[in-house]
Symmetry: C2
Subunit: 312 residues, 2 copies
């Protein structure tokens, strides 16, 4: 369920390009006009606007916008203009090559379906002439590396079938290792890194039924190191990615200054996909509409742009 | 360069099915006639013969053959009749679920291109409702598992670009660890398991140039355990798969009784692809034509079938 709204009928790409040109030409920029167009066009339409703009005005729209708008607003528009798969490859690359943000890598690996992850990895090859797995391995170390490389490498089975006996035996393995605080044991990485999501969810259900505590709770106290945090995150992404993003957004909006990078990432990557579900769950869990929380913690053109995507 | 030969013009699938029927009906089986047809049709033609046979005679050709022919001959024909990708998935599954034959897993992972491996993994999903990586993980253990799971999971970059400085630094890492006998170090698995084949070959070249010994020779004394053997095998498959198969065939034919399973596997899987190159290299290296070596060590219908595929 997307939150993106597109007007009907939608103007032609040439008309949109002309309006964008109006908004950026001369002194100053009409940010409102930019938002009114760009935040209300889907990926294919945004692509066509860029192509029409380039053809009509012999300049690259993204480069032009870079000189017109700034800060969080610019970064959000820049990310928004990319085609979704290419954007995801780019976000993973940024997360590795700027300050390491393993959260993005866990999300790429565990929120996507096996085939979606594969397509992101193919886009990554095409764009960076490297594999995602080698860049993850090169920019991380120790146990965190073992876990992240396993999660991004695997091509999980995508079907729904589950093997209940296997789920029971692997729930036991997980429980033994977690209770012994052996979180970095190879068996945990093997199970998380190779089983299908359906099978893992069956295993986590057995875990709760047998041992009385949801596995994510057993791990929620483990904040001692990045490995344990990444493990917890991966499990949450596999169990319920929407609730996971509810908490990511809540964290990003609970800081004294909002965490705009995280906010931008989640909103931009999900507005065209499932932000509607995340928004509903956010309101239910946090007792405040997502748009109010965003409104309170952000400002200026950035706020207007993000709210337009959230579906104010 | 394939060794498979197909007659021109080739009979229709219905004509072939009729001849096959002639060969199997009544008492006894005309193995010569079966070989004359089946060993001289490509994958698509074999598929069409099976479909025509099933339609014309309301029975499954593979099942009928199972009751007509036996032993190594039957196993070879059975493998040959499969479509190549499905056959490769099946061979990997057999290698895991019967007696563990990690050699087959190393070949699947390291001889195929990244996209070929991907297609085999997709066929594996479809056929076994599991991922190849989870079955490899479930049927192996210890260091061998770490290596094999890394090799089958990875989706390597498939391009030709190399980074020479990286090759030099990773050659040094490999040399340090090999000279310290730390073959099971995570860094070795990380490098082998994530880098592109082009990059790995550049690294192996640096290794030889810097340290005076080809990496495969540095490892050839390491026969102490399956992990070291699998590591050596993986490196050989990445450096020169054809020479690797020359030695596999030579080993299979050098035993007092030939190793028919291995012989069948290599011949059946490569006859339609690159067995011509392997055959040339075999003759050059072993000073005897492959067909002579096969002729000397095999017998009966099995021999005739295999020789037909080798291009006698």
């Amino acid at each position: 369920m997307a939150t993106l709204t597109v007007p009907h009928p939608v103007p032609s790409a040439a008309e949109d390009a002309e309006q964008v040109r109006e908004a950026v030409k001369g002194w100053g920029t009409n940010e409102k006009a930019l938002i009114a167009i760009l935040a209300h066009r889907d990926a294919a339409q945004r692509k066509h606007i860029q192509l029409a703009y380039e053809e009509m005005y012999q300049e690259n729209l993204i480069k032009r916008l870079e000189s017109e708008i700034h800060g969080d607003f610019e970064r959000a528009v820049y990310r928004w203009l990319f085609e979704p798969i290419e954007r995801e490859a780019m976000m993973a690359n940024l997360a590795l090559t700027k300050n390491l943000n393993y959260q993005v890598i866990v999300e790429t690996a565990c929120v996507n379906s096996p085939n979606e992850l594969l397509i992101v990895k193919q886009a990554y090859h095409a764009k960076y002439r490297h594999s995602l797995e080698e860049d993850v391995a090169a920019h991380t170390g120790g146990d965190l590396r073992k876990l992240l490389v396993a999660l991004v490498s695997t091509y999980r089975y995508g079907g729904d079938e589950i093997d209940l006996r296997l789920a029971q035996s692997e729930a036991k393995i997980l429980q033994d290792l977690i209770s012994q605080k052996e979180l970095n044991h190879d068996e945990i990485i093997r199970i998380l890194g190779t089983r299908s999501k359906a099978q893992l969810n069956a295993t986590f259900n057995c875990y709760r039924d047998e041992f009385g505590t949801p596995i994510e709770e057993s791990l929620s106290g483990e904040t001692a190191n990045e490995y344990a945090l990444a493990l917890h995150m991966a499990i949450r992404c596999i169990i319920d990615p929407h609730m996971y993003f509810v908490d990511v957004l809540d964290d990003a909006l609970s800081k004294s200054g909002a965490d705009e990078d995280t906010l931008t990432r989640v909103i931009v990557m999900h507005a065209e996909k499932d932000l509607g579900v995340i928004k509903e769950k956010f309101q239910k869990r946090k007792s405040v509409p997502l748009e109010h929380a965003v409104d309170k913690k952000t400002s200026g053109d950035y706020k207007n742009f993000i709210l337009a995507l959230v579906g104010n």
